[in-house]
């Protein structure tokens, strides 16, 4: 671990799963001293380095260091706390998967806000991209001997990011589109469901996930 035991973190975000769940899970898995702040918005917008959230504040030895951009924060925490491989190629494979997942966000938004004439086309694009993402998760998993992890046999950044990804599309985004979980759940293979549930059971994640609804109940309620 590369951070001192007297280092404390503050994660500033909205009181939502949103784009911060990966950060929360990494701070939890790291057993870091951390708290969350929910700045009043938009009142506090101008006080953020880039007028956006999340923001990570790292305080140690009386110093304060600030970082923004959700994926930069994730990669930073993953490196500091040893969840990112030190081998550049192995790290690139994990970061690639995370960036591919992030590509889904604009596609989701496009189909959400599309006018009637574009709705069908935008939905098809989102659907195709999501299918491709599930296939990619399956491909990575098939190449790993452990089926409880994407890479190696210990919790990694990729595992944490995958869990947060499915949580966003099955739980969080329902506030924007109530049927998104029914669109996404049938796409999940038994292997991916098994992986999600294995990650959920990781002891390192318990301090955070014990406060959240389990995905297990949601995933087992598939109507067949």
């Amino acid at each position: 671990m590369l951070s001192g035991s007297d280092t404390v973190y503050v994660l500033r975000y909205f009181d939502l799963i949103g784009r911060a769940e990966g950060c929360r899970l990494l701070l939890t898995a790291a057993n870091a001293s951390w708290t969350e702040e929910h700045p009043e918005w938009p009142a506090e917008k101008a006080n953020q380095p880039f007028e956006r959230l999340p923001v990570l504040v790292e305080r140690s030895n009386g110093d304060e260091w600030i970082l923004c951009e959700s994926l930069t924060i994730e990669r930073y925490l993953a490196r500091v706390f040893g969840f990112m491989p030190t081998d550049l190629k192995q790290a690139a494979l994990q970061e690639q998967m995370v960036d591919q997942q992030a590509d889904l966000v604009p596609a989701f938004m496009a189909q959400l806000i599309a006018t009637d004439d574009m709705k069908s086309k935008q939905f098809d694009e989102f659907n195709t991209l999501f299918d491709r993402m599930v296939k990619e998760h399956g491909r990575i998993l098939s190449r790993n001997s452990s089926k409880q992890h994407l890479f190696g046999d210990q919790l990694s950044y990729a595992d944490i990011s995958l869990y947060a990804f499915y949580k966003v599309y099955i739980v969080y985004l329902k506030i924007y589109q109530s049927d998104i979980d029914e669109i996404v759940k049938p796409k999940l293979t038994p292997e991916i469901i098994n992986l999600i549930l294995s990650i959920e059971k990781e002891p390192l994640l318990a301090p955070h996930l014990s406060k959240c609804d389990s995905m297990a109940a949601v995933l087992s309620s598939k109507a067949f």
Binding site: F50, L71, Y76, K89, A92
Partner: protein, 229 residues
């Protein structure tokens, strides 16, 4: 006879100045052997790892190819492999942050470009405009903190300089055919510090052969704006 360099790279992308620009610049400054491929599109879509480009193929003489995709990921991999991202984790994160911020601005640019209704276009343009102002502010602040010497960090070209340059080039040079007025929107906002950084990047000897292609961003941003009569 010089031995050919190992590894060799192929970068697959469209024949345009787009999100692969940072990767092309990094391959150039890394001083490796590299070539571009412009696969027929969308014919070659299914043959790419994620149905998208850019794709980077690293070929080794005695090993199998290493293939990665996602523009930011390719950039970070090359930048780390060839010493343009610091090994200090915090310093690396500060550089990556600048890229993600520039990328946010670019996403906002695209939103206003593709907006269908006049109302959406105006709203999205306002968001892009505001974000661009904020980006220029944080970039200029960092350049000043480093003594305004033409580099974001330290005293030599780094990842942060390259990606800052790249995103302005994508918008001002790459996108001008799709939005002719973009130069007149972006150029007045560029601070002298940013113009100096852009010129410094382009003048780097490591980029001499890449810049021989033309498409100078520095030429556009340092050209005096004609006085209005």
């Amino acid at each position: 006879m010089a031995a050919s360099k190992n590894p060799q790279y192929t970068l697959r992308y469209f024949d345009r100045i787009g999100v692969a620009e940072g990767s092309k610049l990094l391959l150039s400054v890394a001083n490796v052997e590299w070539a571009e491929e412009h696969p027929e599109w969308p014919l070659e879509k299914p043959n790419q790892p994620f149905g998208r480009m850019p794709v980077l193929i690293e070929k080794h003489a005695n090993d199998k190819d290493f293939v990665i995709c996602e523009s930011g990921n390719i950039e970070r991999y090359l930048a780390r492999a060839y010493g343009f991202i610091p090994s200090d984790i915090r310093q690396a994160a500060l550089q990556e942050q600048l890229r993600d911020q520039a990328s946010d601005m670019f996403a906002a640019f695209i939103s206003q470009l593709v907006a269908k209704s006049e109302e959406d276009r105006r709203e999205n343009f306002a968001k892009f405009d505001g974000l661009l102002d904020k980006l220029v502010e944080v970039q200029t602040k960092q350049i000043n903190a480093n003594g305004n010497i033409g580099y974001m960090f330290g005293d030599r070209l780094s990842y942060a300089d390259i990606v800052t340059y790249a995103f302005y080039k994508i918008i001002v040079v790459g996108m001008v055919k799709r939005q002719a007025n973009i130069v007149n929107i972006v150029k007045p906002k560029l601070t002298p510090q940013l113009i100096k950084l852009i010129a410094t990047v382009e003048a780097n000897p490591l980029l001499a052969s890449y810049m021989a292609r033309g498409d100078s961003l520095a030429a556009i941003v340092t050209k005096p704006t004609p006085a209005r009569l």
